[in-house]
Structures are given as C-alpha cells and as structure tokens.
Assembly symmetry: C2
Homo-oligomer: 345 residues x 2
C-alpha cells in the first residue's frame, strides 16, 4: 500500500460554490472542464447539481458527452470550443450547447443541427476564442433571431482586479451586447469577485470551486498524503537524488516518499517545496524523481507514516508558488495513480 492518497472534499466544493453564488447577482453555473480541473467532473457536477447548479461548462464536446452520462437529462452543458467539424452527432446525442466562436462555426452548426440550441462566444479583447466585433456585427441579427441560450465572453486579467484590461473588456462586452435580450455571461471566479458590474445573467466559477486563487476565502478541497517508503540517516556531506544536486550540511534524516512528477508534483518545485506533518514543514531535498521525493525530516521527533503535500496548511497556490506556476496547473496535473477518496458527499 505504497499508493499516495488524494482526498477530495465535496462539502468544501459545495461551500465554495454557495459562497460564490451568494456574492453574485446572477445565476451561478460551474466550470467542470478538464475533468473538473482534475478532480472528477462526474462527482463534482452531480454534487453541485444537487446544490442547485443548472449550467455546466466543459472545454470539448467529448467531455460534455461524458458529463451528460453522469448528470442525466436536465442541466445545460455548454461547450467552450463550440461546434467543431464532426461534433454534430455528439452535440445532438448528449444534448450539449456549443458556444459558437466564429462565423465558420455558426455555419457548421446551422447546417448540421438547424434546430439545436447554441450560445455565442464573443472576443472582448483576449484574442483567444470568440467572435471579433466586426464579425459579430455581420452575424448579430441572424444569430439573435434564433434566441441563443447565452452570449458570453472571457476576461484575460481577472486575477488582477486593478488591471485596466478588465474595464476595457467590460466596456467592449457591453457595447457588443447592447440591446441584447439573451442571457449574458462574462465572469468566471475572478470576475465574480470584482463585483456586480461584471456579473450579468450567468456567472461561471471554476478555480474558486476547487479552492484556488483568486478566491482567497475558498475552503481547501484537496488533500494529498504521501506514504514514506524508507528513511535513512546521512552523514554531513552526503548527496541525495539525481544529479547529486543536494548535499547534507549536517547529519540528516531523509525520508523517501512515494510520489513524484508522474503524479503531478511538478519537477520545477524541487528544492523549493515543503511537505508537512500537521503544520510542521519539512523541506524536499534533491530533484523530484518520477515516482519519489526525498524529504529532510531531521527536525522531527518521530518518523510519521506519511507526509502531506497538499492540505489545509499548504494549499494548491502555495505549492504552485514553489513550482513557479499557478494553482490551476497544480490541480490539473494531479495524475491517475492516486488512491482517490471523496468525502463530504
């Protein structure tokens, strides 16, 4: 039983959704793309559907089909990548709502599924996905006549509330949707926190549900405990791990825990990361291996059975800091080798 344990707290997801919903003047959906940021779209979405969420968002039609199986009929499932050539059978069978992002997609959609609902994705400045103002002007009357389920855009800088890009995108979105009666949506977690100007009719929280910034009041959702395989005592001057990159400066006690970058513990965090016993931090030493990490437990009185790498003391954003990235990537990187346990259902 050397398998690492990943515990996902559905009660915390539920509480985070409720808190974000309470801050929002709009209907609150839930973004469960990328298998709910790696945490299990089926479990997360069914939990939030019971809590009252009726609109879910995925990246791909294929994700939507899997999610429909889990959710059953009823809740709306929106697809951010829209309607790609070949998607029609999936969109139809799973009753998905593609968020069309170009004239090309609009044509594909109305030709292949003329009576099937859709939403519209506008580009308000991120230049990633969605119709540009000129494209939208040309298509607008035609699209609105078919009563789109949603008209949405996405903010590029919502993690930085003071960034001028936010207001610029808001103004662009307002201008592009002036006079529109279809439901409008602009905000994910960051936008919700920026206040009601950004909320419109539907909000789409994602990372905040899973305990990540910019929702600093989020309850932590993920806990990972790594079993110790072996403990050894080192003399001063001995090296640990690949490339001899760490050398002991004192007689040291080193634990080897059973997880590594194949489990999504990003290799970039090597040498800058801590593991925990309760709230006591123990530094990771040497390079992170594919399946193992060395940890300096010299200062512990007793040797525990496992060390915690994610939990109440070190959240996804703290671990992300050590790896020079963002909490989102820590979440989506968690691999398939963990023993996953859902609590709080």
């Amino acid at each position: 039983m050397a398998v690492a344990h990943l515990t996902i707290d559905l009660a915390a997801v539920r509480a985070n959704w409720r808190t974000l919903a309470a801050q929002s003047t709009a209907e609150t959906g839930a973004v469960v793309k990328a298998d709910a940021y790696g945490l299990g779209a089926a479990q997360i979405a069914t939990t939030l559907a019971k809590e009252g969420a009726r609109k879910f968002f995925v990246a791909l039609a294929e994700e939507g089909a899997t999610l429909r199986t889990a959710l059953g009929p009823g809740p709306e499932i929106f697809v951010f990548s829209g309607h790609m050539p070949g998607d029609a059978p999936i969109i139809s069978a799973a009753d998905l709502t593609p968020l069309l992002n170009s004239v090309d997609q609009m044509l594909v959609h109305v030709e292949s599924l003329p009576h099937h609902g859709f939403g519209i994705q506008l580009d308000s400045g991120m230049n990633r996905l969605g119709m540009e103002p000129a494209e939208w002007s040309a298509l607008r009357s035609l699209a609105l006549a078919q009563a789109p389920a949603m008209i949405m855009s996405h903010l590029a800088c919502a993690d930085e509330p003071e960034h001028p890009m936010n207001r610029q995108q808001l103004e662009c979105f307002l201008k592009m949707t002036e006079g529109v009666t279809a439901p409008r949506s602009l905000s994910a977690t960051g936008g919700i926190l920026m206040g009601s100007d950004y909320h419109f009719d539907i909000t789409r929280p994602g990372v905040g549900l899973y305990g990540g910034l910019p929702f600093s009041d989020a309850l932590p959702v993920v806990q990972i405990d790594l079993p110790i395989i072996q403990v050894r005592d080192l003399l001063e001057g001995e090296t640990v791990g690949y490339g001899n990159s760490w050398r002991s400066r004192r007689p040291s006690r080193i634990a080897t825990v059973n997880a590594g970058y194949a489990d999504g513990i990003l290799r970039a965090a090597g040498g800058q990361m801590h593991l925990l016993v309760g709230t006591i931090p123990c530094p990771a030493v040497g390079r992170i291996s594919m399946d193992m990490i060395g940890v300096d437990i010299t200062d512990l009185e007793d040797t525990p059975d496992s060390l915690q790498i994610l939990g109440p003391t070190q959240d996804v954003d703290s671990l992300a800091n050590a790896a020079g990235t963002i909490g989102y990537e820590v979440l989506t990187s968690l691999g398939s080798r963990y023993n996953r346990r859902y609590i709080g259902a």
Copy 2:
C-alpha cells in the same frame, strides 16, 4: 472533433528496445512504471514481451497487478517500492517480485509471504531507495540464502557519463555484491550507454524506449497534433491570452489550438515553445491556458487544420527544454484527454 491526437508508435518502442538490447551484454528488461511513462503500460509491455522482454519493472504493487492482467502469467514483474505494509495480497495474487529496500521490508516480506520470491535493492550512493552498506552487511547472508531473484542498485548521474559519481557508484555496487551469484542489475538507459562495465546480468531501460535522452539515437515514439479551433487577424499592438503577456509587433495571424496545461503542455513552456507545420516552426504566443494555446501563424501561406507539438521535428527533449525540464516529465504529464492511437503494433 476538437480533441487533440496522441499517436504512439509501438514499432519505434520495439526498435528502441532492440537497439538498447543489442548494446547490452546483459539480459534486457523494460521499465514500464507510471503507466509506461504515460504511454500505456499494457500496450508497451505486451509489445515488448512479444519482442522477447521477460523482466518488467513498475513503481508500485498496484501498477504490477494491472500489468499482470495485461501480460498474463510468465514474465517477471519487479516492484521498485518493494514490499510495503499491506502489499502482501497484491504481491501474491499478481505474482510480483518486490525489490526489498530495507531490513524492515525484508521482515514484512518473510513474515507475510515466507516462500514468495523477492529481489534486493541496494543504495550505492543516491540515498533515495535501497539498503545501505551497513544494513546490507547485517542482512546479506540471510538474504542470499533465500536466492533473491535480483540484486540491483540505481545510478544518480547516468545522464552525465563523465560525472565521477558513476564510477563511485559502480565501485560501491561491486563491493556490496562481491561473491554474489544472484543476478545483478545496475543500469537503466544511461548506464547501458556507458558500456559493459555497468551492465551486469540485467539492464532496465526506461526513457530510451520512449524516445528520450540520454539515448540520443532513439526513434521518436510520440506524436501530438492539436486541432486549430479558431484563427484571427490582429493589428499591431494587440495582446493575446491571460495577463496580456504577449503583444503583436506587426499585423499578425493567431491560431488558437485546443490543448493546454491540462493536457500536460507544461505552462512553463509558454512564450518559449514552438508548434510545427511539417518542419516549419510557429511560435506559441501568450500564456498557455488550461485548454488552449495561441500560436503565431503569420508566416504560413495556408492555414492548416492542426499544428504539431511533438513529433519527428520537435521531440520530447526539445519540448522539455522550452519548459526548463526533462523529457521524462513531458512524457508523464501527457493527460487523459487525448484521442490516443497506437500504430506499428
């Protein structure tokens, strides 16, 4: 059909195994831990078993159990993490050979499975896993009397053939195994390439099978093609993606492809990575999103349907360089969202 395509060339895996086996004076096994570095342990191991490999290596007993189902009875499956408390039923049912790495594990093993085979893992200086010289001295006679299936150690610096650590570990291993008649194993891919002094009785190639360094003659195994969701034309001075981190210096044509860090395209590669059309590189622009990447295709004459991120022109190590990591992590990070196709079976 916005799903990205991951093609795994089993003929290349087979060829890489044969080339490494031909360079080795020992029996050649295969390391298929972490689901064969993310590429599918069942497919890789059954392919190599047909090619003649009889010894496979995994990290965890649980991985070994899954592999046994794929391989059927016959080939030996060794477990690097050894025999952890609670592992006995799995080890017994799946007929696994734990590589015991401490006196504690030896005790657990002989108490719970007294007549079940095992190997011994020695620490020759990496200080990660395996018995220390003193521990081994105390246990050696007892262990050897039970005819271990293998006595092994692991090199910390085999990616750097000139590193003095290699010879130091070789000498330590020779000393620790002097007079031993059980089969000995010291080398993974890097050790095989360092020559016959390092080969002993069994070699354990891993990353080289999958097309990664230090096996510079490896055939590439993985190809990833990312469908383009949308193309847009930008004026000079427009920004792309999260945080407005990229700004066009000329009128530009930007493609958005449908994969991101949730698919294991490490976020650290943002701004330093290229995608390809044939051999023509197109720079990724802006931050890598969870499900999308922006790519500057201004210099292409025609807009392709997809862009390649891994393949003959950009291998796992080139992509790893862009992300400041190693090819191993690029491989193990590839997520579950790809449409996976095996060729060359």
